[in-house]
Symmetry: C2
Subunit: 228 residues, 2 copies
Amino acid sequence: MLTQSTDAIVNSQAVICGVPTTDQFGLVAGHANLVASEFCYGRDEEIYGEDEPADYVYQVVRGAVRSYKLLSDGRRQISAFHLPGDVFGLVSGSVHRLTAEAIVDTAVRLVKRRGLEQAATTDVNVARNLWTMTATDLRHAEDHMLLLGRKTAIERVATFLLEMDHRLSVTGTMALPMCRRDIADYLGLTLETVSRALSQLHSEGVLDFCGARQIILRNRRKLHSIDM
Amino acid sequence: MLTQSTDAIVNSQAVICGVPTTDQFGLVAGHANLVASEFCYGRDEEIYGEDEPADYVYQVVRGAVRSYKLLSDGRRQISAFHLPGDVFGLVSGSVHRLTAEAIVDTAVRLVKRRGLEQAATTDVNVARNLWTMTATDLRHAEDHMLLLGRKTAIERVATFLLEMDHRLSVTGTMALPMCRRDIADYLGLTLETVSRALSQLHSEGVLDFCGARQIILRNRRKLHSIDM
DNA sequence: CGAAGGATTGAAAAGGGTCAACAATGGTGG
DNA sequence: CCACCATTGTTGACCCTTTTCAATCCTTCG
C-alpha cells in the first residue's frame, strides 16, 4: 500500500521531469521492497551536513538542492545542483562528504541507506545501480574539474547554461531556481563575474531575460562554440 | 598456477607501497578468480584514450600514471595521479571518460572489465568493492573541485605537497615522478606559478630541494595551516 | 661533453576579484 | 491593491593575483 503510493510518486516524477530513462531510485527502492518516505525542506534549509552520518539517500521530487564544501574561512564550492528526479546523498561510506541544502522549498523522497546496502547484498540489480549512480556523479565531477581548472569565465557560464538548458528547459525557457551567488560558487567565479558574462551574452543576442532567473536561449550553436 | 603468481604480485605490491589496508584490486580479482596480466608502458605512453572502449581495469605496480581531459585547444586538466597500488580505469559504463598516460616507465596489472562485471553479478563482495573504488574516486574529485574552484595558488601547492607526502613519502623525502607542467595541469595553474609557489615555500623554510623533484618537507604544520 | 628538455626568475599584461553605487524585483503588510 | 523595504542583480572603477612572454640556469642523458 505504502509501496504503491511510493510507486505513484515515482511515476508522477517521471512525468514532471519528462525524463524517458528509467528511474534508478525507484528501480532500486522497488527491487529492494523499501519504503520511501517523503519530506519537505524550506528555502535554505540544511538537509544534511558535511561529516554527518549518512543515514538516508534522497531523491528530489520538487524544488532544487545544492551540494557543497566549505573552506574554514567560508569560501564555498558547490559541486552539484540536484533537480527533480535526481538522486543525491548516496555515499558508499557511512558519512556525508558534502553539505546539502534546499535552494527553494523542496520535497524529497528518502530511503534508509542501510536498507539499500542490505538489499544490495541479495539483489545484484540494486548493487549495480548503486555503483552506476555513484559513477554518474563521478563523471559529472570529472567534467566539472575541467571547467574549474581550465575554462575562462565566459566558457564556464556557457557550459552552465547548456547544462541547465538540458536539465530543466521546458518550452524553450529556463527557470533557474538558484541565485547568482550559487551559480558563481558552482562555477568557481564571483557573482559579479557571472552577472557580467550573462550581460555580455545578452548583448550578443545569445540569450534573453524575462526577469533575472528566467532565461531564453536564442543561439545554442554560439553557446556550444563558446563552451568548446 | 597463474592465479597464484597473480597473488604473489598482489602481496609484493602491498610491501612496495607499505600500505596496510587491504588491496581491493587483489581482493576483487581474487574473489572473482580472475587472471591479472602484467604489462609495461614507457614514459609518456598512452594506456587508454578518452572515448575508447573500456576493456580493462588497471592497477599500478611500479611507476606513475596521469588521468586527464583535454579541451579542443589543448588545455589540459589532470584529475588524478595514480601511484603504485592505485586502481585506475574503472568505469561503470563501457567507455573511458579520461585519457591515461604513463608519467615514467610504468608496470601495471590488468583484468578484463567484463570479467569483473560478470563476477559482480554472483559475488556481492566484488560488487561492493567496485562501488567502493568508484566512491573513493568521487571523494577525491569532490575535494579537488574545492581546490580548483576556491583555493589560491599557494594553497593549491600546499595541498598537493601534503597529498604527495601522504602517498609517496618514504624516510621523509618525496620523489615526485611528474614534471612542473603535470603539477600545474593537476592544480589548474601554470607551471611558472607552481615553480614560484615552491620557491616561496623553500625561502620560508617549509621545504628543501635535493634536485627539482626531490623534496623534503621541513614544516608540515605550516603547510597544513596554509592548506586550510 | 654538449645538446635538449626542464626549471627558475623577471617584467609586463590581463582576466577576474573587490569595493561601491545603483537598479530591479518581489514579498509583506497596511 | 498598492507602496515600501529587503533582497537580489547589474554596472563601474580600480586593484591584485596569476598568466604570458622571455631570458637564463640547471640537469640529465645520449
